[in-house]
């Protein structure tokens, strides 16, 4: 098996393990990353929502916000499945975009 194939399998395994990224924080009762809080949490932490943040926050409506699939059930299991599928979609798109970009950017001669 070529190295690239083995590495893609490795990525696939990581994708399958991705739900650990929601399960482990949940087990520890941990929130999001430092400095990545939403407006509601900011208000809890500092007592108000900065004006500029209120204006800019959430202006972009991403298709799969917070790696959750629409209609996923709310328990940790539903969250995990959603996260895994979002991970798979994201990994595929990133790989595809990366590949196309590299093809586009790479040397055009035939020695490569």
């Amino acid at each position: 098996m070529s190295t690239t194939k083995k590495l893609w399998i490795g990525i696939g395994i990581l994708v399958l393990l991705a739900p650990l990224g929601v399960v482990i924080p949940a087990l520890f009762g941990a929130g999001g990353a430092w400095g990545e809080w939403g407006m509601a949490e900011i208000e809890k932490i500092v007592g108000f929502v900065p004006e500029g943040m209120r204006r800019l926050s959430g202006w972009w409506k991403s298709p799969l916000p917070e790696y959750a699939l629409p209609g996923q059930s709310t328990g940790i299991f539903g969250k995990s499945i959603g996260y895994l599928l979002a991970a798979a979609v994201g990994a595929l798109l990133t790989a595809g975009a990366g590949y196309l970009l590299a093809k586009f950017l790479s040397r055009k001669d035939h020695k490569g």
Binding site: A30, G35, Y99
Partner: protein
């Protein structure tokens, strides 16, 4: 470390885009001269790897989480320009599709995690690995140290940009307009987590994968 929309004011996010657009342009030019078409799958792999790695949120003291980025590893294998592009692709897709990181903050996030991370990691790796065999232990140490420092540089840059906001963007009543945490809060918070924990995670991942390449595709480490 993914700065959301609303945390950076236009002066900062504009400046970061102002830095990154030329960097991306330079990377395109550089890769056009040095990246072979058959390396395209590796850049795709690097981007996907970085994307997936950043999904593994690890809790730390204080109730927050963090993640590794994989930038140094990609820089070791493909060079700093390819790593900048690969991680930028991951970050941009994270922002556009999943709202992980702001759109206004793409310049900043790419500068911190992709560009600064890639060049710091690459530079330190090359320095420490100088003259050593690709399959030797020194490469592993070099990779680990480089990854550790690189991730911390990324974290501190983000902390600096955030901590600067209350100083440079105030409302009429003196309250911060964007990220409300001053440097004295932001820098230690980010520094501690990354110096004491996430830096080591990044180092471990980097060392493990370099080891894999040493055993299976040492040519990639030339």
């Amino acid at each position: 470390m993914h700065i959301p929309d609303g945390y950076l004011g236009p002066a900062t996010y504009g400046a970061m885009y102002g830095i990154m657009v030329p960097v991306w342009a330079a990377a395109s030019w550089k890769l056009n001269r040095t990246l072979k078409a058959r390396q395209a799958p590796y850049l795709a792999l690097g981007a996907a790897f970085s994307f997936v790695l950043m999904l593994f949120n690890i809790p730390v003291l204080g109730g927050t989480t963090g993640h590794a980025a994989g930038t140094t590893l990609i820089a070791v294998l493909l060079g700093p320009w390819a790593a900048t592009v690969a991680v930028s692709v991951a970050l941009i897709i994270q922002a556009l599709l999943f709202g992980d990181g702001g759109i206004t903050a793409i310049g900043a996030n790419c500068f911190n995690m992709a560009a600064a991370g890639a060049f710091t990691g690459y530079g330190i790796y090359r320095l420490l690995a100088m003259g050593s065999q690709p399959t030797g232990r020194r490469r592993l140490v070099a990779g680990g140290v480089a990854a550790y420092v690189s991730l911390n540089v990324s974290a501190l840059l983000a902390a600096f940009q955030l901590g600067l906001q209350p100083l440079i963007a105030k409302a009429a009543d003196g309250r911060p307009l964007y990220a409300p945490f001053p440097l004295e809060v932001a820098m230690p918070a980010m520094a501690l987590q990354h110096l004491l924990f996430f830096g080591f995670v990044e180092a471990a991942v980097t060392v493990l994968v370099i080891r894999y390449f040493q055993k299976n595709e040492p040519e990639m480490l030339m």
